[in-house]
């Protein structure tokens, strides 16, 4: 894998958080494209192509950064839907959330999250975290073999 060729789907409803995440990701040279979904339903449309104009599936991202607290379809449901779909069942999903609650952690892993990262309030730490995330999942980690799709 080479830098600059990776796509990330950021599922985040908070524009501030989205902006800060994008800001941090921009400083990260492993990411070439960041897709932004502002709610769970939009995220699933992007991934599974439901409701798209031509009905054909888009190119899947290499990593999903998923917030739990989302309008319309909550993050945990999005995660379950990802794991329930054959096309996305192996897609790395990192839960990136403000929540420090045990139950969220447990529910996330139970639903098939690959990682659970708490968003630090400290922006410097946040930047570091996002960078490390990209580095790990997109560069160091060997992705599973693609299933289906082009």
């Amino acid at each position: 894998m080479k830098a600059g060729k990776h796509r990330i789907l950021l599922v985040e409803d908070n524009p501030d958080d989205a902006e800060l995440a994008l800001h941090a990701l921009r400083k990260n040279d492993v990411v070439s494209e960041v897709l932004l979904a502002r709610d769970g339903a939009a995220a699933l449309r992007l991934l599974h192509g439901e409701g798209s104009a031509d009905g054909t599936p888009r190119q899947l991202p290499d990593l999903v950064l998923l917030d739990l607290k989302l309008p319309k379809v909550p993050g945990i449901e999005v995660l379950r839907a990802i794991r329930a779909d054959r096309r996305t069942q192996l897609l790395p999903v990192v839960v990136l959330t403000s929540s420090h609650e045990d139950r969220d952690l447990a529910a996330s892993y139970a639903a098939g999250a690959n990682s659970y990262i708490r968003k630090p309030v400290d922006f410097d730490a946040f930047v570091t975290t996002v960078r490390d995330l990209g580095l790990y999942w997109l560069v160091l980690n060997e992705a599973p073999p693609a299933i289906g799709g082009p």
């Binding site: 501030d16 958080d17 800060l20 403000s98 609650e101 968003k119 309030v121 400290d122 922006f123």
Partner: protein, 715 residues
Amino acid sequence: MRRVSGEATQRRTARAEEGQAAVLPAGLGVARALFEDAVFGIIQLGLDGHVLTANQAALQQLGYTLDELRGKPFAALLSAEDQPTAAATFDALVGGTKKASRHELRYRRKDGTLGWARLTAQLTAERPAEGASIIVMAEEDSDRMRREALERGERAALERIARGDALNGTLEAIAALVESQAPGMLASILLVDDQGRVHVGAGRSLPAAYNQAVEGEPIGPQAGSCGTAAYRRETVITPDIATDPLWERYRSVALAAGLASSWSTPLFASDGRVIGTLAQYYHLRQDPSPRDLKLVEAAKHLAEIAIESKLAYAALREARDNLEERVAARTTALREAADRLQASERLQSAAQSIAHMGSWEWDMATNVVRWSDELYRIYGLTPQSFGATFEAFLAQIREDEREMVRATVERSAATHAPFTIVQRIVRPSGEERTLASNGRVDVDAEGRAVRMWGTCLDITERSQAEAALKRLYADLERRVAERTLQLEETNHELEAFSYSVSHDLRAPLRAIDGFSKILLAEHEAGLDEVGKNYLRRVRAATQRMDQLIDEMLALSRLTRGELHLETVDLSALAREVATDLRAGAPARKIDFEIAEGLSARGDPRLLRTVLENLLGNAVKFTGRHPRAHITFGARDTERGRAFFVRDDGAGFDMGYVDQLFKPFSRLHDQDEFTGSGIGLASVQRIVHRHGGHIWAESEPERGATFSFTLGGLER
């Protein structure tokens, strides 16, 4: 008798010389001698019936001197009853129709007493004429007299006995009777008691001193005539008291009383016991005459009857008293038993009334039903309004249950098995009552059911109460469920709130911090130093708020979730925490003194939080001292066994102790000691969740001691 006859002889001689010659013609020597010496009385009467003269025997019999007698009408010498006979005889003699006559008559003595005499009267001449007189010869009938006196005395004594007169009076009468039969004799009767002591029963003729000496003396082999007779159970005769060895003990007193001879015979009760003695005394030494002994025999029986009847009477009275006493005792016992029975019945009735329980029995042969009072009350009936038969009973049952009751009873009668049923009855007032009844069957020798009996409990109120209770339980359960639901909702809300705090409060913080950072990093050119400084402070504030949020959430988590109780080695836990703390402040000089063997049942995670906070505080508040001494131990307090953490640090003013455990309250400047004010609030919450107490004692710059209990879970 010798003495008396002796005196009589002397007197007779004297009187003869005095006056006989004046009446009787002189020269009639033989006649005179005959007249004077006659052993029977001779009285010469004039034809006018007056006494002319009398011989000594007559004078002595009558108790008059010749002078006194002379001139008295003869009739005055007779008993009133015999005077007509005497008058008729006299008239016949004087009238010449009779020459002589013989009569047995009672004569009257000077002293008024009567005596029997056989009288022979005859004219001295062929015909009554001048100078003629009547000669009356009176032969005293002493046997008859004595017999009569004896009979009279006996009758009197028996009358006394029959009347129940005092024993002494009766015995005196008997003694007098004995004495009357033998002039010169002194009679005495002694009583012998169960202890073998004698008591004077009759002894009026004996000197008082003698009676006193005898009174209370014991019977014995040598106890005078009486004591010895009682002892020997046979008659004892002492002709000469002065020499008889039996009398040694009483000799002097007897002689002083002028007693010379004595004989005594024991008196027996019909059962053979000696109950007394009868004795005769004489002033002269002599042997008893056969007559004396005969007399003793006769009087003895009387005395025995008197004494025994008296004893029997006393025994009877005692028996009667005993009987009365026993009757009284038995009556009392019976009355008490009756009272107890009545009380018991009242109690049973009261108990039945209180319990609303009645009892019943049904004599199946006669078809008679008997109910207790309470059962009548339960049925709202009276003995007058209840037919007291099985059918009458059935009629009280609610119509739709009647058959069930009948079937139950009939089955029990057939099988002899006890039964229990609940049936409803209708009172005459129309009110329904619910009764729980049971019954048992008595079976006769042939195996037939003869009787059914049991109890009946009015459970109307109980049924109602049970129904009410059921409703109450249902209501309670519903309310508990509601409340649980509310609590669950509140809990959910709380959780949602914490979740929201955790999630949503951080987002703006992150934005503030993030954009401040971006401003500082990428838009530095547009900011002067003051502006940069402010942005740095904005960032510091967001960090601080983030920390507060964390701690607040941690605090709220403490009140949620279950306690996982296990035995926690607090000493080990404290050592671990101390190690961590020392590592966090390597430059500090801290002495930890941790007592060994402290443990408690509690949630290990939460107890760790407690120790982390308390020991952490101790480390923190000793920070400005060159050396810190921190102790963890246990001690007994008025709240029981308590653990404590003591330091020698800054301490605090006890005036603010109330603020100590409130969340977010602080007693020190942030500049002085950093902190959020959440730690002790958390510790208190944990201690309370374990059912314990926490308190603190301190003085500024003298250190602080925090003590806590764990609701009896401490060891």
